[in-house]
Amino acid sequence: MERLWIGLVNNSVCMLVVLPMIGAVLVQAMRPFGWETVRRTALTNVVLSLFLLIVMVANFDVGNRTNQSAMQQQPHAQLRTNLRWTGGRAGSGAPNIQFAVGVDGISLWPIAAIVLLAFAAVTATYGQDGKQIANNYSAILLLQAALIGVVAALDVILFCVFLEFSVWPLAVLMGRRGDANTLTTVRRMCVSHSISSLLVMAGLVLMVLAYSWMRTTEANPNPPLVFSISELTAGISAWLADDRAAQTWNQVRVWVCFLVAAGLTIRSLAVPFHGWFLNNQDRSSIAVCILSPAVALPIAVYGIVRFVLPMFPEIAMPLAHPISIMLLASVVFLALLAVSSRGLGRLTNHACLLHSALCLLAVTSLSTLGVTGALIHSSSILLSAAAVFLLADRFPRIAAWRHFLLLLAVGAVLGIPGSSGFAGQLMILVGIFETDPMIALWTCFALLLLLWVFAVALLSGQSTDVPDPPADVNEGRGASLRTLAAVFPLLFVIGWLGLQPQFLMSRMNQSVAYVMRRYPATSDASADSDSQRPRRLSQQRRYRRGAVNFQ
């Protein structure tokens, strides 16, 4: 029994990826046994996923490395599972691609958020009936598997496979209604995400090839291709000490960086790639409202932090400032768009878009605080938005407890103290401020506009335009309990992380520190005295504006 438990714990991440896939198949298999069986199968699956998530988080080793040398070491992925996919045997000649999944500080929170969102989506649609229900649940579960796979993948090819795979279940969910406008939106989403996935895949394959070329020597003319993300991250940095390898890397790095960053930016819903999202949200079911931002926000931020920041500091440093200006324009533009929109549901969509751009802006600040805040906020905003979508229907006529919970959820979207949004926004704003106070000032202005618009909407009791409520508004006590069951885990996590974000921070710090080790804002932080700090920050600002060449 103990061995079974240890096996379960050690493979919990793998099971979090595989279990929903099995669930999706089971849901289809249960169709002959009636809709209730189908619903119970899906619900059991998400509950088991929730249980596995708790097991994973409870067994995540916090670690306690505080000295400078330890910070330079890469934190290993925990609870990892390695399954041979192709090659791997000595002399086989096939590329060593593995089904390797695990969790580290960067991927922990996105995995948790995705599991919670899938749970909320299944629970909220539990009361629905009809022929499409099995397909819906299968799509939700497959989407859950794909998204967890993206952030848990330790292999480049596996990452790309899951990235591409995540598009199609969402397309099925979105296209359920099948009218012309929906299909147009679905087509745009598929095109946008497919291009994004292809660009990322091209960039990562090129990186794998480049790493192989870097290691080519006379003694070893054909080094094996390496697909492990951690090995690539550490290996490329280490091989830069070799002149020839550095020269090789310098020739391809711009292309790799461009392809990966462009792909992830398209994915992130940043302006001008946001069109399909707003169209989709106007016409979709509650499950799509909850899950569609998850395909974009956390994945894009995770990808940039995982690949772009640790591998391309030489490119990121000089480009960060112009990109941050563009992102700032995007944030202000989205805030103004929010001002001209009506209804709580649509406002929440705009808030999602704005916070997506805000997270990217925080990443471009290249400060530990900004990056950490972006990682937290990109996932926590999804939980808050999902809670609003679940509670927002029939806003003026809902029960008192629901109204109260709705206020909490909207507050979390806006980042009131005590919600996870507050901690995320605080870190993002301080992180941005560290590197450019003017950008922080304008960001505050954009957030102020968003707050104002929400205040007007709430105080004037604007009805929401969430199109397909959880179908339980008039279904009595059972329906209310279902909504409560769907919302409670979300609000609990939002409140818990708002009051005790250190729980997450202690698990993220090492991984983020490793990612940021090659950036001057953090690399010598521990050696800095307080009096040196302003000077160092101004030096970093000059780096970002291109006044000083990065060595």
Binding site: A70, L337, T368, T372, F404, P417, A440, L459, T522, R533
Partner: protein, 663 residues
């Protein structure tokens, strides 16, 4: 003893929180009476604990150190090297203990006063009040800037909840309803920017580490403009909270809510937080004379503007709100002087104003409860016989408030001393030397005299405004009476005992403030403040008393009985009267100019978005995708192997291209 202080701090903070949380549950279960009594119990426990806390902390024999602190838990630590480290820590010194006592006392009085209305109030009203109380206490007990910002912003939320739930009218669709929210959020962001500046320049967020002379001098030497910028941010944040110009428009929402709700917001939770921020960071302000000068000038303008608005308002709650903002503006003016006497005057002004203004608001609530929930002068009048206790409470509170012997005259006295000190400096040192040592000194010297005159003018206008309101409600007025039949609400003990308890407290504070013991208590927190020799107290006190008396007499002559003179004067004043009555159209300016400009800009963005991103760009992408699809249609055979082959060929092509480039 440190453990006792720590335990007391926890009790003071936890009692309202527990009452609020359980109250929310009870109200959800429709147990409103239980929720009310729980709130009263929580508030009373907090007040009792704060009395003991004040006794211990203010006594050097019991607690030798100036401040005591207790770490609750680590909230946030970002980075391996623990740079951004926020620990939830409570910190109390004699000044904080004094403010906590004031907050809990007013909170308890407001709650006891609300006994009769516990069943008629809206859902979650009392828990919201308790939440406001908890947040206000935590703002004062915060030991670092992030915690301060955390609870500062939470107090915004609590105030909006309390104000919204306490709203009497169903006019929720009014855009003006969001004024409170907007002004407070601007203040919040200003504080956040100030905190960011503190962190990036001081490298720490602990109040006790930032607010030291050595650290401030270090930053001042390295970056002279930074301290001024931080102070400007704090000053803007505090101005938003205390409804000073240009962020005073949220006061216009006050007449839409019950006077009792305004009492808590304006005297215990929201407004004192602004003064507290500036008081707590007075060392920073000391190092930023330019910002202090700007603060003094804006305050003087604000005071004059608010008091001139107050004399023409038609609603008692609004007059009292404007009076609150004006009094706190005087406190800011005192803080801009920066000497120990001025700081003391500001603190006494804050406390006495809070206690007396709570009495005024609660008395107004007594009247409103019996008069169809209105405080409009048109619908009130000749109520002295019906509300004798409220009449006595209000007249006593007004006399204490406008006499100014404890605050305003001290400010005038310090301003005069400052003026003479600066003038002496100009004469003795010459302009060049002065500019090197203290650049704005010459300017201060020229401005101080004007400020004194402005204060005296505003004292007169303030006295006229509040006594006008008093006489219109209790004596004059011939409009339709709206009082309900039967005994008045104030006959219940819960409606008048808190008023007189607060009045006694205010009088006690006025007396206690004249003793050395009070100075010793404050010196434990403000030991570094500069003490300067001030001139005679008699002249400024007489000037203030004269101006106040003039205001009283004119109000008595015009409003104690129905008269045609007010209308005649209004006709003579003409445009000024209309401007004053409409708040100088500042709110209209915001709504019609700023808000409209933003909305038009938003409309332009929407049009641009539809035209470009949803229109042409999307269609172009669609056309491109269709064209590509048509182009590759011949390859679309359905043979998966062919697709895989095509993909592999593309990858091979890419690899070959790169290999060629490498050479």
């Amino acid at each position: 003893m440190i453990k006792v202080v720590a335990a007391l701090m926890c009790i003071v903070a936890a009692a309202p929180l527990v009452a609020a949380l359980i109250g929310f549950v009870l109200e959800t279960l429709n147990r409103r009476a239980a929720s009310y009594w729980l709130a009263v119990a929580g508030s009373t426990v907090a007040m009792t604990a704060s009395v003991v806390l004040m006794t211990i902390v203010s006594n050097p024999m019991l607690l030798p150190q100036d401040a005591s602190r207790i770490e609750l838990f680590q909230w946030l630590q970002v980075g391996e090297s623990a740079r951004f480290d926020v620990t939830m820590t409570l910190r109390v010194d004699s000044f904080a203990a004094l403010l906590v006592l004031m907050i809990t006392a007013i909170g308890t009085a407001v709650l006891i006063h609300g006994k009769q209305q516990k069943l008629s109030r809206q859902v979650q009203h009392f828990p919201s009040l308790m939440l406001s109380l908890f947040v206000a206490i935590m703002v004062v007990l915060s030991a670092n800037f992030v915690m301060l910002y955390f609870f500062w912003q939470l107090s915004t939320v609590a105030a909006i909840l309390a104000q919204n739930r306490g709203s009497r009218s169903a006019d929720d669709a009014s855009p003006a309803k969001s004024n409170l929210f907007l002004c407070l959020v601007i203040a919040d962001f200003a504080l956040l920017l100030g905190v960011c500046f503190v962190w990036t320049n001081f490298g720490t967020l602990e109040l006790s580490e930032v607010l030291t002379e050595a650290n401030i001098a270090g930053v001042l030497a390295d970056r002279p403009a930074v301290v001024g910028t931080i102070c400007f941010c704090f000053f803007l944040a505090a101005f938003g909270r205390t409804a000073q110009f240009p962020l005073f428009v949220w006061l216009h929402d006050a007449d839409r809510s019950r006077p009792a709700d305004s009492a808590l917001i304006q005297t215990a939770t929201l407004m004192p937080a602004g003064i507290y921020l500036v008081l707590r960071s007075h060392l920073l302000f000391d190092a930023a004379p330019d910002t202090r000068l700007v603060m003094a000038m804006v305050c003087a303008f604000s005071i004059l503007l608010l008091s001139s608005m107050a004399i023409t308002q038609k609603n008692m709650t609004r007059v009292l709100s404007l009076s609150s903002a004006m009094m706190l503006g005087q406190a800011f003016l005192a803080l801009s002087i920066g000497t120990f006497d001025a700081i003391k005057a500001a603190i006494v002004l804050l406390i006495v104003h809070s206690l007396t203004k709570a009495v005024l608001f609660l008395s107004a609530d007594n009247i409103a409860s019996d008069c169809d929930e209105t405080t409009e002068f048109e619908r009130l009048g000749s109520l002295r016989r019906r509300f004798p206790k409220s009449w006595w409470a209000m007249i006593c509170a007004l006399v204490i408030l406008v006499s100014g012997i404890w605050g305003t005259s001290r400010i005038l006295q310090n301003l005069s001393s400052d003026l003479s000190a600066k003038t002496t400096a100009v004469v003795n040192d010459g302009d060049e030397d002065l500019n090197l040592k203290d650049p704005p000194a010459a300017t201060v010297a020229s401005v101080a005299g004007t400020l004194s005159n402005l204060i005296l003018a505003s004292v007169f206008l303030h006295s006229l405004a509040v006594f006008r309101a008093f006489f219109l409600v209790f004596h004059g007025g011939n409009a339709e009476k709206t009082t309900k039949p039967g005994p008045s609400h104030e006959s219940a003990g819960s409606r008048w005992v808190p008023l007189f308890a607060l009045l006694v407290s205010a009088a006690a504070v006025v007396v206690f403030a004249q003793t050395n013991s009070f100075d010793e208590i404050l010196l434990r927190s403000f030991w570094s403040a500069e003490s300067v020799e001030t001139g005679s107290f008699l002249r400024p006190a007489m000037l203030v008393a004269l101006c106040s008396a003039m205001g009283f007499v004119i109000a008595w002559m015009l409003y104690v009985k129905p008269s045609v003179w007010p209308d005649r004067i209004a006709r003579v004043a003409g445009p000024f009267s209309r401007l004053s009555q409409h708040g100088f159209y500042v709110e209209e300016f915001y709504c019609s100019f700023l808000a409209r400009m933003i909305r038009q800009l938003a409309g332009l963005c929407r049009w641009f978005d539809r035209l470009l991103f949803h229109g042409h760009a999307s269609r172009a992408c669609d056309h491109a995708a269709s064209a590509i699809a048509r182009a590759v249609r011949p390859l679309h055979t359905g043979n998966v192997q062919l697709y895989v082959l095509a993909l592999l060929l593309m990858i091979a092509l890419l690899a070959i291209t790169l290999l060629c480039n490498l050479e």
